[in-house]
């Protein structure tokens, strides 16, 4: 509460600015998703299409704006910010890493195994 009881000026301008940024990012995402530029689809980076990397980075960018601006995380104390954001990022990255690695391994087993799945 320390950040908002002290001063009462309106943040409306900033809010509309963030809305504009979020809209532009979404429009870019949808645009890329519809036209699917060939060079982004054909190029892969760490076993994923470049296009998908772009989508994920844009999504995290949007998430940053929502959390920092709309949820007012930038105004919270360092302690609260870190205990929420770092905990989340650490656990989620770990989970994604182990599950995707395992999923890829199972795909290889299905593919290389002696059983046919397509019948």
């Amino acid at each position: 509460m320390a950040h908002d009881t002290a001063h009462h000026e309106s943040n409306t301008k900033l809010i509309w600015k963030v809305f504009f940024i979020l809209s532009v990012i979404t429009i870019v995402e949808v645009f890329l998703g519809i036209i699917k530029p060939a060079f982004l689809v054909d190029t892969t980076f760490i076993s994923m299409k470049l296009l998908n990397w772009i989508f994920i980075i844009l999504t995290i960018w949007k998430a940053y704006y929502i959390t920092w601006s709309f949820m007012h995380m930038e105004g919270e104390t360092k302690g609260l910010r870190r205990s929420v954001v770092w905990t989340g990022i650490f656990l989620v990255s770990y989970l994604i890493f182990i599950l995707l690695t395992e999923g890829d391994y199972i795909y290889e087993v299905f593919k290389a195994g002696h059983k046919s799945w397509d019948f």
């Binding site: 309106s10 709309f70 919270e76 795909y107 046919s116 397509d118």
Partner: protein, 327 residues
């Protein structure tokens, strides 16, 4: 603040009980930690979705082909436009929510009422849109054939466009296969709804229509579904096909692997439930704002707390949108 937070009278003593090291009220801090735990739940679901997707990386359904409906545009291929619109509605309701919080800081009751009202409307439209999206997905559009191994085979014409079952089937009017219901058969047993056509009718129609071939679930290097030749199609249809699938449920899915449908229903359903409960909570706070509860309390922190929840729902949607519709 006075009514929302109990003061102990020992605020100046560090270990006296009333100390707020994170400089936020108890309620707001706990809302943050609730959001963190809820975020981890959603991450668990989305990571499990990623796991299944990596497991079937070469045969996953293509979202653009699944979600390509737009209201009042029947038969028009409009991939993503509708879900993009839904995303805008939710982001915009997040904006009105943050404007309500901002107006609350300045103790402007009228403005808080207006912005919260808009937020509630936006949330309701979003939930409605999601229901419509579910309806289309459950109903399906073209129909497909399921094989003994649970693989999906779809019909396409020479240009690669999907062909509907109703355009293929030669209906056998002499067949009198009746739906087995508990009232007309064994009383303790009933069967699932019969598909519109039988596999024999589809086979008969397919043999006549020389321009139609089958498409498997397997993706090519270009990320498109593999199209079989006419001979291969006939062979697969006569040898492997055992049933008709129309639309999607938890067991069968005309678009591809049932896992896609399972995760779609579960994750968007769980998110939709969050939006729904968010709308309900917003309505409760909205009523309190109208009644002037927070005016008397001289503090609009409750609006801020439900605002946090509402933004979180938007935050989750940003990820669901990416992983279900874009990637």
């Amino acid at each position: 603040m006075e009514t929302a937070v109990t003061k102990t009278g020992t605020e100046d003593k560090i270990w006296g009980g009333g100390n707020q090291p994170l400089k936020v009220s108890y309620g707001k801090m706990m809302m943050w930690f609730f959001i963190l735990s809820d975020a981890l739940t959603f991450s668990g679901f989305l990571a499990a979705y990623g796991f299944s997707r990596f497991k079937f990386i070469d045969s996953w359904p293509i979202a653009d082909e699944v979600f390509n409906h737009f209201p009042f545009l029947h038969g028009v291929d409009a991939p993503m436009y509708y879900v993009a619109l839904m995303t805008f509605i939710l982001i915009f309701s997040s904006v009105t929510m943050v404007l309500a919080v901002d107006a609350g800081h300045q103790m402007k009751q009228k403005k808080v009422i207006l912005y919260m009202f808009l937020t509630i409307i936006g949330g309701a439209i979003f939930v409605g849109s999601q229901a419509w999206e579910w309806k289309n997905f459950i109903k399906g559009e073209y129909g497909a054939i399921e094989t003994r191994g649970g693989q999906i085979l779809q019909f396409v014409d020479a240009d690669g466009h999907r062909v509907k079952l109703e355009d293929i089937a030669i209906v056998d009017h002499h067949s009198d296969r009746a739906q087995h219901e508990s009232k007309n058969g064994i009383w303790y047993d009933k069967e699932a709804t019969l598909p519109t056509y039988t596999i024999a009718e589809i086979k008969a129609g397919f043999t006549k229509r020389k321009d139609i071939v089958l498409r498997t679930q397997i993706l090519t290097d270009k990320g498109e579904k593999t199209i079989l030749s006419r001979e291969e199609s006939l062979k697969r249809l006569n040898k492997d096909a055992i049933g008709i699938v129309e639309g999607a449920n938890l067991v069968h899915n005309e678009y591809g692997t049932p896992l896609f449908a399972n995760f779609f229903f579960f994750i968007t359903g769980f998110h939709g439930f969050h939006v729904f409960s968010g709308v309900i909570i917003n309505i409760i706070i909205f009523i309190n704002v109208i009644l002037g509860t927070y005016e008397r309390r001289k503090n609009y922190e409750m609006v801020e707390k439900v605002g946090l929840y509402w933004h979180f729902v938007d935050l989750v949607w940003v990820f669901v949108f990416t992983f279900f519709y874009l990637v």
